[in-house]
Symmetry: C2
Subunit: 307 residues, 2 copies
């Protein structure tokens, strides 16, 4: 059975001091640190791109795992802000940079904050159906490319990052249960217009509070698990205030749900991978992930450790 | 087992007379009709979009099939020229327009001319892995949005279209064998730069001639089939000249491989769906599809009729 073998990430060197940004926007520093929960933001510089960040994440992966590029049979890259306007698909550009085999399926998927949970299921099911044994799932969605510099709500929130997950037939974690949902009618809450991001923070907050806890409970029931039997809850790091409320509403024990966006901000589809990379060090047996945002789209999955 | 139940398409009302275009570019009309093989091109007008074309294709589907929107559990949309810059994913926008259920997974995939063959495998494997019974695969890639009006090679070639395929657990055709490949190092042959399409026609032609026939033979061997046992070969309609050469090089009986781009042009990921929709009327038992282009990416699959 296919599953997650390993994961690595990349944070660009560029940094934005979010407290200085708070001053510029005449926003209370305490609000930025406590409610948004972000002190500094990783930010792409001129030399960074979706492709270069993905390649850097792969290099970091190779420092912990022995990965033979010749064995990679599938590359899926999740972004909504691709290099070259997405033509070609950025997975093909990464394919070239990593010198992968021609016998390799590559495609991009367009999803936002739910992208990692979706992407894992997409790549695993595609690989299984096509008899593939090793694949790479990349996430990289540099919102800095589309931030309106006058919009404090988004400028104070979003950070740039990338990740890569090695999917293989010798996994550490396999999927136990998942659920995917969409509320397209609410999509205007988070959208690009004339290449600039527009966000209705209140609408996204209300959506997260209303729909995410229900889905988490549903997936737990499907897997015949309780909150107690999950070791760690990896929730999309939308903002500290949103997370605290989702955790409370869902009845998740707070100590099991890390809130860790102080030095990354909301990194869209890379936020759960950043958490997962750290949490795997603790060797959890049962992991619940839940991503929610752009679409509006939300997805929850439970992964269990292979014995 | 999941598979193709039905398919429908949409061609916008807007039209470009390709012979008038030939005159404007001081290009021989005979070359345009005989080598490119395109007399007129469907072209998006101001009111057209990826979402509106997808909705129109769905309406056309509903004229031949009884589709209950409440039963749709998955929507995958293939494009590299999405509305709203792809944020949100256009599948979510289509989800809203069609009034689909919240219990519906939606995501976009970024692929060009190989997109339909990939997309079928992606949606079918994702749906199967997640126990879903009815889904929709859309293709719509309006290159008119990125054509350089001074570039005769691309202006004379690409047309706009859309399609929708109903994937269900009561299919007419199921997948027998498929193969996917990528040559990212060649991707500059077909790419967006500053939001304008650049194409190296010679490089794309050489790639198609060299790699597509080999993959077709490989997939036939995998499925333990010969050219004779395939009823119809649906090849991506790149250009008449390219098609004639691929057909010859692969040793495909010419009468089994329709060349039908005279009034559509090259419609990227919609070109195989446009062929498939027509050819299903002839009730073929065994269908081979092969898509190739942007990436560079190529994919071949064999579908067989359910008895």
């Amino acid at each position: 059975m296919l599953g997650i073998q390993s994961i690595a990430s990349y944070l660009p060197k560029g940094r934005v001091d979010n407290l200085e940004q708070a001053d510029r926007f005449e926003t209370d520093r305490e609000f930025v640190e406590q409610k948004i929960g972000v002190s500094s933001l990783p930010r792409f510089e001129a030399e960074d791109s979706v492709v270069s960040a993905s390649v850097s994440a792969f290099k970091n992966l190779c420092e912990k795992e022995s990965v033979d590029p010749a064995e990679i049979e599938c590359v899926v890259l999740c972004t909504q802000n691709p290099d070259k306007g997405g033509l070609p698909h950025n997975s093909a550009l990464v394919h070239a940079e990593l010198g992968l085999s021609e016998d390799c399926a590559c495609f991009d998927i367009g999803l936002g904050c739910s992208g990692y949970v979706y992407g894992l299921s997409v790549i695993q099911s595609f690989m299984a159906a096509n008899g593939m044994k090793k694949g790479l799932l990349f996430t990289c969605d540099p919102y800095s490319k589309i931030l309106n510099p006058e919009d404090k709500n988004t400028c104070l929130l979003f950070g740039d990052a990338g990740s890569v997950t090695l999917i293989s037939d010798t996994p550490r974690y396999t999927l136990a249960s998942a659920k995917f949902a969409t509320k397209g009618a609410g999509s205007a809450a988070l959208q690009k217009n004339d290449n600039l991001l527009e966000m209705n923070g209140r609408a996204v907050f209300n959506f997260a509070l209303q729909d995410v806890p229900k889905q988490i409970k549903h997936v737990l029931e499907n897997a015949e698990l309780t909150m107690d039997s999950v070791d760690i809850f990896l929730l999309h790091q939308g903002s500290r205030f949103m997370l605290e409320n989702v955790i409370k509403r869902a009845g998740i024990p707070a100590e099991k749900a890390p809130i860790r966006l102080s030095s990354t901000g909301n990194t869209i589809s890379s936020s759960i991978p950043l958490l997962l990379e750290k949490e795997l060090n603790g060797n959890p047996k049962t992991i619940l992930m839940s991503g929610f945002g752009v679409g509006l789209s939300w997805a929850t999955a439970i992964y269990t450790q292979v014995k």
